[in-house]
């Protein structure tokens, strides 16, 4: 057995142990910490599966930004909620659930073991047309060229989720700022960390988007890092969460989708149809769309974490 297999078996066991801890542990806070660790371990698993782009996105979105969201929610629920007692499911229900879940796991494992060999793959055609896009990273080519419509619609889903979250605001707070952030001690470690880390993080996020054309990276991982930096700024109190009816904020939020749609419609004029790119100019257009997208994604993710407006505009 090669050392790679030993590493993968150990990693898989560790992932399962942390997932079991996340599901089973009594305290909510411990469960969230377990979930963040789980996300980071999963990104290692993605590396083992030769998917570095997914690994970056999983680490940044699945572990990082989701972790920040869940920790914030956990803190707000924990302060006032008493632990839920008295409605634990009975033994029969637990046994039935156990049988059901074990059956589904066994079925899925069977499917994985019985997958057709050789596996069907779209890698050769993806590689074949890579030259036409001018990109070096096939995953970015799928996201931004072959299946650009999916990515466009996903951006719309992100915006819709933000609209849905905002719409949960009580009437009196509409148009105000999200009630997010703390008042840490001035001169404390959090403020120091923010001052040191945010400039580095902003550069790292933009760098990830820039190299994503040819190497692992991309707009989603880069946008998630920008979002993390914004969240750090909000938490430390060094930057203020923008009011939801601000014009500049809304401009940044819709810029990505707008540029994407305009470039898509221009495809009718300069190429064969919606979201088609003219020969030889695909890469600069893709980079332009991604540049607009990375700031929109960063702002949307950060505001999804910040939640609905909870402070009125005039203090």
């Amino acid at each position: 057995m090669s050392s790679e297999l030993v590493f993968c078996i150990g990693l898989a066991l560790l992932i399962l142990a942390v997932a079991g801890f996340t599901i089973g542990v009594k305290e909510d806070f411990a469960a969230v910490v377990g979930f963040v660790v789980y996300g980071l371990l999963l990104s290692l698993a993605w590396m083992s599966l030769s998917s570095p782009d997914v690994a970056l996105t999983e680490a940044a979105v699945g572990g990082g930004v989701t972790g920040a969201l869940l920790l914030g929610a956990c803190a707000r629920l924990r302060t006032r909620e008493k632990p839920a007692e008295g409605h634990r499911p009975g033994w029969i229900n637990r046994g039935a659930a156990l049988v059901l879940c074990a059956g589904i796991s066994a079925g899925l494992a069977g499917v994985v073991l019985l997958l057709p060999d050789p596996a069907p793959t779209l890698a050769p055609p993806a590689r074949e047309h890579l030259l036409a896009t001018g990109l070096g990273n096939a995953v970015t080519a799928v996201l931004m060229a072959y299946r650009a419509l999916d990515t466009l619609l996903e951006k719309v889903v992100l915006l819709l989720a933000l609209v849905a979250v905002w719409s949960l605001a009580p009437d009196r707070f509409w148009g105000g700022r999200p009630a997010f952030g703390y008042r840490p001690e001035p001169g404390g470690p959090l403020i120091f960390l923010t001052r040191v880390l945010v400039p580095v993080g902003v550069v790292a996020g933009i760098y990830l988007f820039w190299v994503g054309a040819d190497a692992p990276g991309g707009a989603f991982a880069g946008g998630a890092i920008l979002a993390a930096m914004a969240i750090l700024g909000f938490i430390s109190g060094l930057s203020v969460v923008p009011a939801v009816n601000g014009f500049r904020l809304r401009f940044v939020l819709v810029a990505g989708v707008t540029v994407f749609i305009v470039a898509g419609l221009a495809g009718f004029a300069w190429a064969s149809g919606f979201l088609a790119y003219p020969v030889g100019f695909a890469k600069p257009i893709i980079l332009l769309i991604e540049l607009a997208m990375i700031f929109s994604i960063g702002a949307t993710l950060a505001l999804l974490v910040a939640g609905p407006p909870g402070r009125s505009l005039k203090p």
């Binding site: 599966l49 979105v61 909620e81 890698a123």
Partner: protein, 113 residues
């Protein structure tokens, strides 16, 4: 035994873990967490499909990888919406119970999880 098989079985067990938590956890916050574990198990099994499709000098089929990246971001936005609904329910009713004796309306709101 290959890397893909190991993580394929791992993904299958993760789906079972997540579903178990989703059914048996009584607090909605923990149901959201369990739902995320369930979802990541499904993503991972799709990653196994991508790895098995390695060809043309690439470590994996790029199409499933791109779909999983999209999926992770959409899963995050759904989680953010679920958490926002949960916090709003908590503000309105002072609790997050899904039991039948909970205040009217709480059940239908949580159904969006």
């Amino acid at each position: 035994m290959s890397v893909a098989t190991i993580f394929g079985i791992c993904a299958a067990i993760l789906v079972g873990f997540g579903l178990f938590g989703l059914i048996l956890q009584s607090q909605p916050f923990r149901k959201i967490l369990a739902f995320n574990v369930l979802g990541s198990g499904i993503f991972l099994s799709f990653g196994v499909v991508a790895r098995r499709g390695a060809a043309a000098g690439m470590g994996g089929d790029p199409i499933p990888q791109a779909l999983v990246i999209t999926g992770i971001v959409v899963a995050f936005s759904a989680t953010a919406l679920a958490v926002a609904i949960l916090l709003r329910l908590f503000e309105e009713t002072g609790g997050t119970s899904l039991q039948d004796d909970a205040p009217k309306g709480s059940k239908s709101e949580e159904a969006d999880d």
